[in-house]
Subunit: 465 residues, 2 copies
Amino acid sequence: MNIYRIMRKVTLIAVFICSVTTLNAQEEVVGAIFKNALGSDVAYENLRILCETTEGRISGSPEAAAAVELTRQIMLGMDLDSVYLQEVMVPNWKRGEREIARIVSGHYGETELNVIALGLSVGTGADGVSAPVIEVGSVEELEELGEDAISGRIVFFNSEPDHGHYNTFDVYSDLVGMRFRGPAAAASYGAVAAIVRSATTAMHDHPHTGVTRYEAGGNNIPSVAISPVGAGVLSRQLVNDPGLRLYLRTTSYRLPDVLSYNVIGEIRGSVYPEQIITVGGHLDSWDNSPGAHDDGAGCMQSIDVLRIFLEEGIRPKRTVRAVMFMDEEISQRGGNKYADLAYINGEEHYFAIESDRGAFTPRGFSVDASVKNLEALQGLLPFFSPWGMHEIIAGGSGVDIAPLKNYYDMTLVGLLTDSQRYFDVHHSANDTFDQVNRREMQLGSAAMAAIIYLVDHLDLLEFSQ
Amino acid sequence: MNIYRIMRKVTLIAVFICSVTTLNAQEEVVGAIFKNALGSDVAYENLRILCETTEGRISGSPEAAAAVELTRQIMLGMDLDSVYLQEVMVPNWKRGEREIARIVSGHYGETELNVIALGLSVGTGADGVSAPVIEVGSVEELEELGEDAISGRIVFFNSEPDHGHYNTFDVYSDLVGMRFRGPAAAASYGAVAAIVRSATTAMHDHPHTGVTRYEAGGNNIPSVAISPVGAGVLSRQLVNDPGLRLYLRTTSYRLPDVLSYNVIGEIRGSVYPEQIITVGGHLDSWDNSPGAHDDGAGCMQSIDVLRIFLEEGIRPKRTVRAVMFMDEEISQRGGNKYADLAYINGEEHYFAIESDRGAFTPRGFSVDASVKNLEALQGLLPFFSPWGMHEIIAGGSGVDIAPLKNYYDMTLVGLLTDSQRYFDVHHSANDTFDQVNRREMQLGSAAMAAIIYLVDHLDLLEFSQ
């Protein structure tokens, strides 16, 4: 064996040892990240405080303003390189008084129903409205029925969930179109109000709210969500008494937009500080709950990623930014403003990840990226499978980070979590702190910290600005 | 191309079409099983009834007897081929009055602690015991301290959980030795009582019970579990006041064994009726809770497997038996009796699966079998990954089916579920029906029905009697 071949062999062995060492070193860092998260109650405690002190932090509310200040103070106490606010004008819709819905039937008498106004709905006025009800199973059914059947009535959108999907987001997708588009469509046929079965997988008597969409200049009618149990009651009474009337009273209204903020904290990159990695959740919630899963948890997990980096001494090459986005639920102003400002300020964006599927056990990542970057991320699976994550798949990322795509050819990721329980609580009064399991939430923080560490450390992704 | 080659080609194509058709047909059946389970509230409702009517069904109790009759009646109403009971004598331990534990400290005054007697513990007598406390971090530490340090004292076993494990069963395994072996070891050094930190991943003020083991002829001392919060309080007070005394009062006692039953329902096999497939859970629970996750859910899921087979028209080749085992928590008499009778009666056992890790989202299967059968089961992964199950691994099966190994060379499987929340509720008063998510429980029924269908339909496993 000549000296050249020996040297080549030595080099190959050295490269092999190096790469194995590096892989092991990365596995060790990932392990340290998970163990750190599972050993820290900081994010869970922060979520408890957020839920207790800023319950109902819908955009424009004093509670949302308090949440801005709370998360700013939390990050100011963390030895970050910078903490700042981004101004954003947000909608200011108010629910008003507790809604009343009452069936008045010659056959059954009076029956109270649990309803909640949909976001952006107008009110009925203090006297309420009373009208006969027409039940439909879809928005399309309105067209078949036509204006004669609908005009002057309250349209009752009622469709049973298809429970057969594994992923409850698929169940929700089937249902949510009625909430988004139903009221505006009913208004266009002359309906006086709309009542929509809650988009939930649960069978209980809690209504689930959510925004409804109106075309610019379109007719806005009072629209409410009804609990699944209530929907069953109304539907059965309609079978036996089609002439029953529904009395509905809502006093929601909209005020002029107000100033609010995205809240940002960052660790400056040590090699490519100009390249930004975003990790975020949205700080606003619906006004009927503490918004524990949706999305207080995502915010506190995002801050926790920074805490883990600091505590584990992981100095990222790129700037890692935790962003609490404002106004995801109504108009997504925070996410759009963040992307607009990034572009205006000439920022470079490398990677973004959002946690907005509830603080449940993480199952993987949903990737909105080029095939090449998706495959690069899928190569990370061996780092995650020991931590119960087996799915790195193509799909949507998060509502708040998605606008970055308007300007950047980059990789966006959503944290995938166990979906089974999410729509039990989503947009309802049940979205409370006690529904969050400490360990499940901690694993979510760790998963996001780990993928950020890996893509940054390995310079894994292609991107162009 | 000659006729021979043409025929060969046609044959190959036919075989290919057949195998693809078969694979698709099996996928379809698996899909139908999952959709059936997700669309049926029967098992969830049965669990609700079990929890409401037989709360605290520890072996030997009237509640356990009621649970036997309830599950027998449920299966009698199901058009099964047979429903019957298996006699088994079970221990009859009684907790007595609510336990009292009170720190009496010159420094801190009196502090009440939440404790619960460990299963099989003797009582203190009506007057209770009062003694100084010595804290140890492990059973091994007793030996180092020796009899002089321990005699006449109450031994306080206190070890913080290592939260860094992903699987909470690993956290539990670290802790449970103190509960199993600690009190008997303390007794052998002359301790007057034992108080053990609850084996839980939660940080709350609920104590978690569980059985403690005594050697035959060994000294039995009063032993209780203390809540995690209480353990912290006691430990801190001991630091500042090592001379404090603990007053402990428990009135638990043991009565003679009583007759109870395993409850069995079966669908007779259409091809190999003599070959048995067992699916089970245990019907007894601890006396301090409705035992929703542990293991009412496992029982109702097992019955649900039969319901799914009947409703979907799946006629198994082998006899499929749902078994509600009695007395898992104290002495595992039901599981042992089932195996003994199987052998005595000359039964052939092909496959058994148990659900006793809580009704959480299923993650896969833990397989106790030959390498060949493990690999055969791992080949089924593509059927399960669309339903969120990615782990078919070597490991333990279930406490109740494990005794079958005493007589049979067969394949035993445990349903693996998401472990994050299990030890929040396990053996505590928190193990209530409201902690069970309908969909998570339904997926567990489906997972067991699907694997039974596949191993039976494909004749997948080697076995010998």
